[in-house]
Structures are given as structure tokens and as C-alpha cells.
Assembly symmetry: D2
Homo-oligomer: 341 residues x 4
């Protein structure tokens, strides 16, 4: 059985695991105050070209979104997101659990359109009754999106400009950030993202870590007493080292980028494979998630020997499925898949 089911199926990248092993018996202070956390924070600041940035490690994506969004919104504010955004549908109401509304806008292939965001903000303030409504207090985007797509630099600039004009932060959910940055179609760098966003996170769980996401506040604007806010949401690890050690490994010798590039190479090869064999794509994704339209009979056949994800029904006889590569995808897996297609 080969697996293209997700990018969180395997454990940690071997070099990440190695670092955990080597540091295991050291006695270190708790709650993220250890030397590995500090070292990782410094390396991330450097990789972001963001010497004033503040970095905080959290355990998973939904937790990170809830903690960051709740900590940056005023009580009367909500967060703008695409209707297909992770915070909108796949976090079991974690944002609403913090008391804030997700203000859902229609998007395209998982992306918010800067014009639509601008129109929403403009209309909001022009509405005579807006004091009876939830104030838009942040823009949330995913990069890559849930559909594997990427905002271009131009689009990010436009979103940043709109946010800046309305004085609200732009927050980028980078659960798969590495896979976006290493995409051949990406025209932005990590430093660009740090430059354009007020806050974002560098996903670890899906890019080689056992768990862990690194939140970057890009300009000394981390909310006051953030550690307490994190603790209060049950998100503070006693052995914070677990996160620091892993990110220290991921940002040593650009490992994060190298393993992301590998996943992209595998995705490109996978895409080529399906294309060669005449399969149709549901949409064009330049990252590690590929959406393919399978004949239902073929899908059932494949399921016997390959793990992949169901996405949605396409028509009576076809289904959209998702194939995902990751740092752990082996070229041999692709060879086996070639034989099955």
C-alpha cells in the first residue's frame, strides 16, 4: 500500500528526529524559555529577514489560528476569510469558540479576491447600521490555500494594501508554507511574506515535524502577555523544547526549504504522471496537493493499492480525489503509482 493521503501521515523528518534524540537527556527550563526555542526563533527571524519579528511556537494549526486571531481582534471584531477557508469550515468552530465571527466571503479556487475584500470593508463602513454588525478586524488567508493554489505577489500586495488602508492586520496561515515557497510558480520569498503580512505562521506539522507551528509577528507587535493568552487557551507546552528543537533542526542549513522542494518535485512528477495517462485535473495546483477527476470504477480499483483522499463528487460517474506529496514521498511510490494508472 502506498500513501498519498496527506502530508501528515509519516512521523518526523529524520534530521528533525535526530535533533530530538540528541537533546533528549538535557535538563532544560520549561514553557519555551529553553535555548533551543531561542535558537530556533533567531534562525526564523533571520530566514524571514525580519530582525524585529517575534516568534512563538504552538502545537497545531487550528490551535494557532484560534490563539492568534483571538489575541489580535478586539471584542467587537471578526475575521474576514474565504468561505472555503480552514477557519470557516474545518476547525469545528474554533474561532467562534473564542467569541469571534468568521466573516465569510466568496473566493475563487480558495483565494480571496482583493477587490472583494476592499468592497466588503468599504461597504461596511458606509452602512449606517454598521454599529449593529461585526466589525471586520483582520483578513485571514491560507498560502497555499486548501486547494493548493497560491496568491501571487501582486495579489498579496493588494491585500496588504487594503488591510493597511483600513488599519487591520493581514494574517497568513502557512500550514503548508514550505510547499508554497518551493512551488515553481511562487513569485514570493519567505522574506516577502514577512514583509507583507502582519502575522503568519510557518507550518511544521505538515512539513517534517511531529507537531509544531511557528507564529511570526513581523514587527514587534506581538499581543501583550501573549504567553498568558496561550496558557489560558491550553496551548502552552510544559516541554516547550519539543517545538524549539524541531524548528531549530528545520531552520538549520535550510532543511525546511530542501524537504519542501522535494515534495514539490514529487508533486510535479505526480502531475506529469496523471497528465501523461490522460487524466483530468479538477483545478491547476502548483503545490503538493493535486486534485484529479477519477472515473468511479478506476477510483475503486486504485483504492485497493493506494491511499488518497476523497474530495467531492464530480458527476454521477466521476469523483474528485486529492493526492498529496510531502517531504516523505519516495520516488518509488511514484513508480508504483505509474503502474497502477
Amino acid at each position: 500500500m502506498i500513501s498519498f493521503e496527506s502530508d501528515y501521515s509519516a512521523g518526523a523528518h529524520p534530521l528533525v528526529l535526530q535533533h530530538i534524540i540528541e537533546s533528549n537527556m538535557e535538563c532544560l527550563p520549561g514553557y519555551g524559555s529553553d535555548v533551543y526555542c531561542k535558537r530556533a526563533q533567531e534562525k526564523i527571524r533571520e530566514a524571514c529577514g525580519c530582525p524585529d519579528g517575534e516568534v512563538f511556537f504552538l502545537t497545531g494549526g487550528t490551535q494557532t489560528n484560534a490563539v492568534v486571531i483571538a489575541s489580535m481582534l478586539q471584542e467587537y471584531e471578526g475575521v474576514i476569510a474565504a468561505r472555503t477557508g480552514h477557519v470557516s469550515i474545518h476547525e469545528a468552530g474554533a474561532i467562534e469558540n473564542t467569541g469571534h465571527k468568521v466573516l465569510e466571503l466568496d473566493g475563487k479556487d480558495g483565494k480571496l479576491e482583493p477587490e472583494a475584500v476592499e468592497a466588503y470593508l468599504r461597504d461596511f463602513y458606509q452602512d449606517e447600521n454598521h454599529e449593529h454588525m461585526v466589525f471586520p478586524g483582520m483578513v485571514y488567508i491560507t498560502w497555499p490555500t486548501e486547494y493548493g493554489t497560491l496568491y501571487t505577489r501582486r495579489e498579496l500586495e493588494q491585500l496588504a494594501e487594503v488591510c493597511h488602508r483600513f488599519d487591520i492586520p493581514l494574517y497568513l496561515d502557512g500550514a503548508r508554507l514550505g510547499y508554497g515557497l518551493m512551488s515553481r510558480e511562487a513569485d514570493v520569498t519567505l522574506a516577502d511574506i514577512a514583509d507583507l503580512c502582519d502575522v503568519f505562521y510557518i507550518g511544521g506539522t505538515k512539513v517534517g515535524a511531529l507537531c509544531g507551528e511557528a507564529v511570526v509577528f513581523t514587527g514587534k507587535q506581538m499581543p501583550g502577555h501573549f504567553l498568558t493568552l496561550v496558557k489560558r487557551r491550553g496551548a502552552l507546552l510544559a516541554k516547550g523544547r519539543l517545538l524549539g528543537v524541531q524548528f531549530d533542526a528545520l531552520f538549520t542549513d535550510a532543511l525546511y526549504f530542501a524537504i519542501s522542494r522535494h515534495a514539490i518535485d514529487m508533486a510535479e512528477a505526480l502531475r506529469e504522471l496523471f497528465r501523461e495517462k490522460g487524466y483530468r485535473f479538477y483545478l491547476e495546483s502548483p503545490t503538493n496537493q493535486q486534485f484529479i477527476i477519477l472515473d468511479n470504477q478506476k477510483m475503486e480499483e486504485l483504492k485497493e493499492q493506494v491511499r488518497f483522499g476523497f474530495w467531492e463528487k464530480f458527476d454521477e460517474t466521476h469523483t474528485v480525489v486529492r493526492f498529496v506529496t510531502s517531504w516523505s514521498t519516495a520516488p518509488e511510490d511514484l513508480e508504483k503509482l505509474r503502474e497502477l494508472l
Copy 2:
């Protein structure tokens, strides 16, 4: 520098780490549905003598308390706890963040007194205005307590009986459960605890894991859609395996108990050491946390070579400090300490 600062200073117990390493490259389903989680759940049920129990893995203690308490209380209820309880003072308001009040009662050496709990419950329902008050909906205890003390079997039975009579659950926070069970003064077993409590958790973070706590609902009464409740609080790990693998190791060949016993042996030796040297104890603790009254000058001297915790000022010239042993405390550490006392 030797460390008696806490039981979460070192990484994972070597056998736990070994299990992580061995399973690392396996591709497994996410969110706790993997075979290691299932295996660990089964082993825990067995260790608890509780075949109908339901087991769920979470990442840390504060998170576990918030998720469990919020999921079991009705909206109009709060949780009774000792004023010194972890949920009362050291979780940054994580329980209140879920909308529930901690109903704090005076205790003794960290323990709630069954009579006081009973009186509180009785008085509450006799109060004509109790509909304007927070209903007591659960009793929360720590075992061992924050002071290292233990409820006796008799006390646990009394608490369970009171809870049963008022039809509210008894919840035991076992962040250091192993160190309690292996104490020479403990007169209860893990099976007794499962028998007396409606829900409790077996602490991993402080007993050999990198992170992780195992919640046990003792009688098929896990709240409905618990996974969704966990997700919604940002507490669901994508790689749930990380927790399952560790608890699988901890509950193989009774490792959890063996390493806890080691910590207790070390604590007994440490206690003996201080006693021999004529130090006074702040209170008698039969577990891995020892509270010693140090002359301030001696404290400053010791600090140069030993890490330990500040607890509270005792008088103008003395301070209460906390020494903690764990599965990772080495006999040589005690030897070095002996020389310094």
C-alpha cells in the same frame, strides 16, 4: 549543575523515545485513529481494570482540564476545587475562558475536605437564592496535589460518595499520577481510582513523555462528539500518533509504574538526605515533590550549583523551596547534593 527543578526538565524516557524512533517512518491515519492510539487505549483500559472505559489523548494538563471540565459541565455549572488547585490559580484562567467558574473552597495541604464539599453542596441547594448562583457541577481534585500530598482511599471514597449523592462527577487531575501510585503511603491502585472517579487523567508530560495526557472516562460516559469538542478547542493533534506511541510505550511492561517508582525512591533518598542534615520540611509529602525550609543564605549558596524551585517566603530569614525528583533523577545527582548540604 544538577537539577531538581521540576519533573518536566528532561525529554522523554529512553524507551518512550525508542518507540517514537521505531514507528517514525510508518504512514498512519491522523487525529488519533492510528493503531498505536488504539493499542495504548486498550492497555490503559486494562491497567485501569476498566473494560468499558473510554480513553482520549491530549497534549498537556491545562488543556486537558479545560477540555474535560467544559465538556462535562452544563452551561449553568461551575467546578468545585481547592483554592490552591491548579485550575484555581495556575492555569491563567483557562477554566473561566470556557465560561465556567471555579468554585474555590479552602482545603488543607492542597486537599479538599469531603465534609467541606458536602457542606457546600448542601448549603447551596438550601439557599433560596441558589438559582442566582453558579451551580456546583463537578468536583475537581489533584492526586498527588500541588503540595505532593495524597488523598487516602477513605477520603476518595467519601468524595465519591458525596459526588454520587449530588449526582455530579468526580474528576481527578493526575498530572503526576504515577508518582502518587508508587508512593509508599498510597493506599489506592490505578484500578481503585478508575473505580472511584468518573473521569481522570494519567499524566504523561511529567512522567516520561515528551507531552501527552491520557483522559479516562471510566464508564462509557465520554461526552458526545468529544473529538469535535477537542478539535474546537484547538487540542486535536494531526499526528495523534505522537501521543498514542508514547502511551503505548509507557503502558508496555508497566513502564509507567517502574519509572514512577524510581522517582519515588529518589524522593525518599532526597528526603532522608535533608532530614539527616537537620533541615526542616514545610510539610510532609509522600511523593516526588519535597518542600524544604532553607535559610536564605544557604539557599543562595545552593543556587550556585543546584536548580530547584522557589515556593514561598517562610519568614524574614527563611524560604520554602521545592525539590522535585522524576524518572530522570540519577543517584549521582543525590550524591552531589549530599556534598552541598
Copy 3:
């Protein structure tokens, strides 16, 4: 200046006020336990043909929606509503403030379509990942809607049937209930509504009271300790009599219906007036809110002598405005308006 701005511009209906005056100096027990509350509850149960119903008085619509919805949802559930519903956009996030998501569906003229609700519920449970999503736990509708429209009996039956099949309650927000019941197009009675809905409220604030809404749980299923839930949300009046006295008056000699009918008569006349004069309607509303498309120049002229509401821009030279009648609209106001059109 004549006013068609809203149905909450004037104070209380004279008979309601009279009842307040007459009972003013009586010493009564607090928090809704007085004789007027009990009497009003009894009269409402009778008017609803619902002897087992439980009635509770609250102060305003947003408060009522938040209290009712939060008290009936499980923690992991959200409430289905039309994207244009009051809870979706005009309550400043009051539902999210209770931790629950509003699951917004597209509707038509303010109404949810039963087929769309059914499809949403079916798709939800068929989605393999639905445990990572907010469970739909209630259907919320407004009757009349924010657009003045009415669900037919058939539509209400269909919605009730869908809710029943999926075992979730149907909740009807009747802020303007009287104006719906007295509409010439309404094919349901108050008893029908009590029969089809699990819970609904009879709006007082917009139908002759100074403040006050009467929540009706139609079948002995009021959430446990509801008074405490209300208190906890700051929604319990010490002088609960204020609400009881008003609803006692409104449900004596069918006053509620009589004054609602008056408003409908006025709305019919107003509609006729605009129609005669050749104005276009934005949509057909059979209740007390009328939406008219005005030429911008005419709108500015009218504004000098009439108060009405801005609804939305129609095109470059036209605007949709809202004219509202109520129990307090006088025939002379219509005469004056006729001269101005």
C-alpha cells in the same frame, strides 16, 4: 414630520401603558415570579393552544436569540440561518459571542428554502470529515423575515419535517409575529406556529410594548435551569413584572392581534398609495415593512418631511427605501404622505 421609520419609534400602546400605570404601586416579588407574569404566561399558552408550553419573558430580540440559541445548542453545534437573517448580520455577533457559529445558507427574499436546509443536513452527515466541522444543531427562521416576507404553512411544515427528521429544533424569531399573523397572505395561526416550532418568540418591542419578548417552548422542553441561564447572560430583570404586565395587557381581549391588524391595514393602504402613484416595489411584502424603489431626487425631497429607512442602493439614480407601519401609524400620516408622493 411624519414617521415610517420603524415599528419601535413610539412608546407603548395606550392600553399597555394603562396596565403599567394601574399596577405600578403594587409590591410584587421579583425576577418574573409575580402574578402578572403568571397570568400573561397562562394567556399566551392559551392563545397558542399549547397547554404544556413554557413561557419566559426577555427584554429584546437580540438578547432572546442569544439566550435561546445558546441554551438549546450543544457545545459542538451551530445554528442554520439565512445569510440575511438577523442573527447572521445585525446582532453584532451576539451568537458567536456565546461560542456558536451561525451556519449561513443562501435564501430567497429572506427565507430559507426547505430543500436547501435538507441538502445541507444530508451533505453534512455524509461528509467523512464532518467531525471536524460545526454540527448543525438548530434551524433559525424569522417570521416575518427581515424583508417582510412570510413562509407559507407548507414551507413551515417542510422545515419542521426536516428538523424533525434530523432531530434538531426549529426556532422561529417572531420579533414582528403579530404583523405576520394578521397579514392577509398568512395561512397559519399562532396555534399552527406553536404546533410546528419547538421554540419561538412573540415580539413585544415592535408590537406595542416598551420592551419585551415572550419565548414559548412549545412542549415542556425548556432547557433546565433556564432562569439561571438567563441571569448568567445579564438578561433577568429584577422587576420582571414590567414584562409580565405588558404581555398581560397584550394578550387580554386579543389586543396583540387587533393592533397588529391595524398596522397591516395601514401597510395595505400605504402599498396602495405607492402603487397608485406608480412607484415600483423592490419586492412584494405582505406585512408591515414595505420596500420601495425611489428616484434619488424624490428621496431627498421626501426626507424633508417624512422619516423612513435607507435600505440599499438600487442603481446610480435609485435607492431602495423601507417604510414601516405599526400599531401607532395613524390614517392621517398616510393622508399627509399621499400629498407628498
Copy 4:
């Protein structure tokens, strides 16, 4: 039957009711933007000697406490209150429902001791682990307290000074403010309170209104978008006039003070009555709540003809009861009581 049960047993003071009646048929804008609200705000600012103050009307005390406290605290903060404070025990957890902890301190006769507050704040910041604790973000006091007692000017100054030093607001719950100000023992004026507190409320419900409390932010520091915060908590009345009209009446010709003084005169007479007859007092209260120790047999006798409140058991044969006077207490009620004692 005569009643000394509470100060919210009767309806509105006749002059307040008169103002409601006279303004009833006026068409006014909603949500507190009407001329009566503005007029009342202006009069209150003047009575407070506080031209920069901002005034907002809410419906009841618990609602006011929840809205004010939640709007002024940072997410990581809680509010310090006496263990006997209204927010601590008699609001069904309304503060915790907003996510904030009530940090309860022991007090004396319902009052916080400035030294205790100072010690708490000092100790908090000296605690090495305070980032794992709830930050004290406000001090809440009641004046008069739940026991009818009053802080002296000196005590208020001390509390204000401590708050100022630690940069947190002092909030005074004045549910019975008038009865405090008119007490013969009060050595502060309304202007003094406005001067010493950052925010407070002038209780209307218990001092002559049907409902309503006037929050005063004393120095242009009302939280941003306060109306939206109020709306979001379901606390915004559509017919905000109801509150404005009543406070306009209460602050015309010093009615608020006159009717409060009447209640105090009645309380003094009541106190004298009990004293004469040799009854013991539970504590010395200089305001409209009097706590008397009754022999149980006498208590049962009295109950037949007088309504009063049960407070607590004193000993096996005695009970503490509460007698309350108000603006509506008639001298004849005292005469009747005299005969019964």
C-alpha cells in the same frame, strides 16, 4: 401585608412614571440616540461634576457588571472583588460567562480592604510564575455593599490610589448608590465618586426606575465601539428612550437624591424601632438595608404579616433577616411594623 422585602418590589416612582406617560406617543430614534437619553446624560454629567464623562444606559445590574467588566479587561485579566461581592456569588457566573475570572479576596462587612488589595497586587507581580496566572486588571467594589455598609472617603481614596499605582481601573457598582449618598454616615458626594472611580454606575432599578442603570465613564475613556459591545451582549434596547426618559426624570430637580433620602429616613426610623424594642443587629448598616437577628419563633410570627428577607442562620434558635426600605416605603408601614414587634 406590609413589605420590607426589597427595594425593587414596587414599580416606578410616580414622577418617573409620569415622564414615561407624557413622552409615550412621541416618535423617537432608537437605540439610545433620542433626545431624552441625551438630556439625561447631560444632567448626569452635571450632577457628577464631570463634563468629560460618558454616560451609557443599561437595563439591569448584572448586565451592567458583565458589559462593563468585559469591555474594560484585557483577555488575560480578571477582576478583583470581595468574596461576598455581587459579581462573586449572586450573578450566576455572568462574569465568568464573559471569560474572565473574579479574583476573590476576603473582605470585612462586604468591603475590600485597601491594604489587602495592595498586597495582592504586589504579590502577584512578585510571583515568578505570574505569567501562568490571571492578571488582576480591575478592582470592583459595591457602594453601598451587599451588607449595606459604606467605604469612607479615605478608603475610596486609598483604593483609587492603589489602582492608579498599578494602572488598573476602579469600578464602583452603585446599584443602590442613592441610598449610599444620602446616608448620614456618607462622607462622599456623587462628584467625589466620579472623581475617584474610573467607571461606576448609578442604579435606577432599586432607586425609583422600572429598570435601568446609568454607567458613567468618568474621563472620556469609554471603550471603543461600546454600543456594539452592548449590542453583542444582547443589552441594547431598541426603545432606548425607556431608560433615557426615566433617568431624565430622576435627575430633574434632584429627584434621585430626594427619594433616596426618604428611604434613608425610613431606614433610620426602622433601625430605631428595632433598637427600641431590644432587637440585636447583625451588623451596623448606615443605609437602606438593615440586618436583624430574630428569634426563630418571632420570625415565624412576623412572617404572617410582613414580608422581609431571609439572610442566614445565626444559631440554632436565631436567624439573620434583612429589612429593606426604599423610595416607596410609607411611614404607615413602619407604624404597622411597630405594632408587630
